[in-house]
Symmetry: C2
Subunit: 279 residues, 2 copies
Amino acid sequence: MFERVAIVGLGLVGGSIASALRRQGCHVLGIDRDRSAVGVASDRGLIDRGSTALEELPPNIQAVILAVPVLSILQLLEKVDALAPPGALLIDTGSVKAPVVEVMVRLPGARRAVGGHPIAGKAESGAGAADPALFRRRPFVIVPSDQTDSAAMDAARLLIGLLDAIPEVMDAATHDRVLARTSHLPQMVASALALSLDPGDERVAGPGLQDMTRLAGSDVKVWRDIFLANRQNVLAAADVFIGQLEHLVRVVGDGEAERIESAMEQGRTASALLREVGS
Amino acid sequence: MFERVAIVGLGLVGGSIASALRRQGCHVLGIDRDRSAVGVASDRGLIDRGSTALEELPPNIQAVILAVPVLSILQLLEKVDALAPPGALLIDTGSVKAPVVEVMVRLPGARRAVGGHPIAGKAESGAGAADPALFRRRPFVIVPSDQTDSAAMDAARLLIGLLDAIPEVMDAATHDRVLARTSHLPQMVASALALSLDPGDERVAGPGLQDMTRLAGSDVKVWRDIFLANRQNVLAAADVFIGQLEHLVRVVGDGEAERIESAMEQGRTASALLREVGS
């Protein structure tokens, strides 16, 4: 059990983790350089204590969770490692893992550092949208570096258990390739789809279109960092997707009923796997 | 008020209309050439009476609603017009309107024929998924032909009111261009996205990916007909979308943080309009 944890970054993910841990009885210190985020988190009772200064990390915390955009994680890791007491778990929640783990492996506290990525979210952002149930029954990927020790892995699993999430151990390269397909590409597609509409089209927007463009409303800075940090994998995934779409376009253009039906059937089969996973 | 209506086609849309009208006190005759669809609709109480034969259209019905895939609508219109009593409203629910209205305008009963398209749906299909609330507060497009008279327009509005939907009058060409962007393209994109995944990716599927691929599970025959009937508009919409996506791919490839952020911000603004419409 964690008695005292610190969460750096009080956005949707940080705020939701704070809230879930607090409900489990942990004492949660919330740190965000944005005073108003700290205010929202305090007002909503997501944290026990708030601060805008990393330097206030107390010596008795057992875990520090970095829940800021990916490039900020890279910038903060060294400082947080220096400030956090020895033996405290150091874990992040960034959506790209190779660059994070590359920094973690070189830290003085490399053994207690673990890459993390909760696969959960919603279109709204910020501590105001935080939800302690955000991670419930959702995968939470753990990405150890070559230096991560078993005590840190155990602590990460304990943390994930407190969120009621499902631990899923992966190496960084696999994580970043898979997430490019399952998350980063869909984000880009949602934005491109929103940008393909004409003014007035919203008059006849159905629930399908709303589903297909919801992601386009996500936090712009979070996604800027993800695209920068996972650029090559995202471009490769986009390439595969454009190829698949161009195939469908050709099939529709040829106007042969059976081939259209069979292409749609393949898409249906591929999507059925995802629906079995549940939401 | 309609006292007696007939619905041809007991899938998700036909079954849902049947159920909504029945709750409003209409006597609903459900016709489907598939005996099992009639059975499901009867068992679920969506209809008052079922039949597999169009010829059983009784002389006292006030409206016939054609809720079959688009190409079947085109094939059935003449026969239904011949069988339905004079004065009864003849309306369809197809997702493509130009070819439907082209047939309607040449019918002997052209004056009582109106194109219709309820903008609602869900991933599940069939009468088993029917829901009387499917159309509530959703747009229902009405597309008159040059021959449609005002009595038929009034009857269509009355019907839409009984479904608690919102009538939206459009010409067929506009409807088909707009729907290519708001519905037919998203369907194709969802299928292409599902087809871009690798086996095992579903292990880390988040709610965003599930939203983005849900449409790929839709009825294959319904969509085959839509793509065939609205081919040119769908191809044009796909062209615009691929252009937008390739622009995002270039921006991400160039790796300039500010341009990525501004491109995402534009997508966010475009999607905000849709979210304001509500779901």
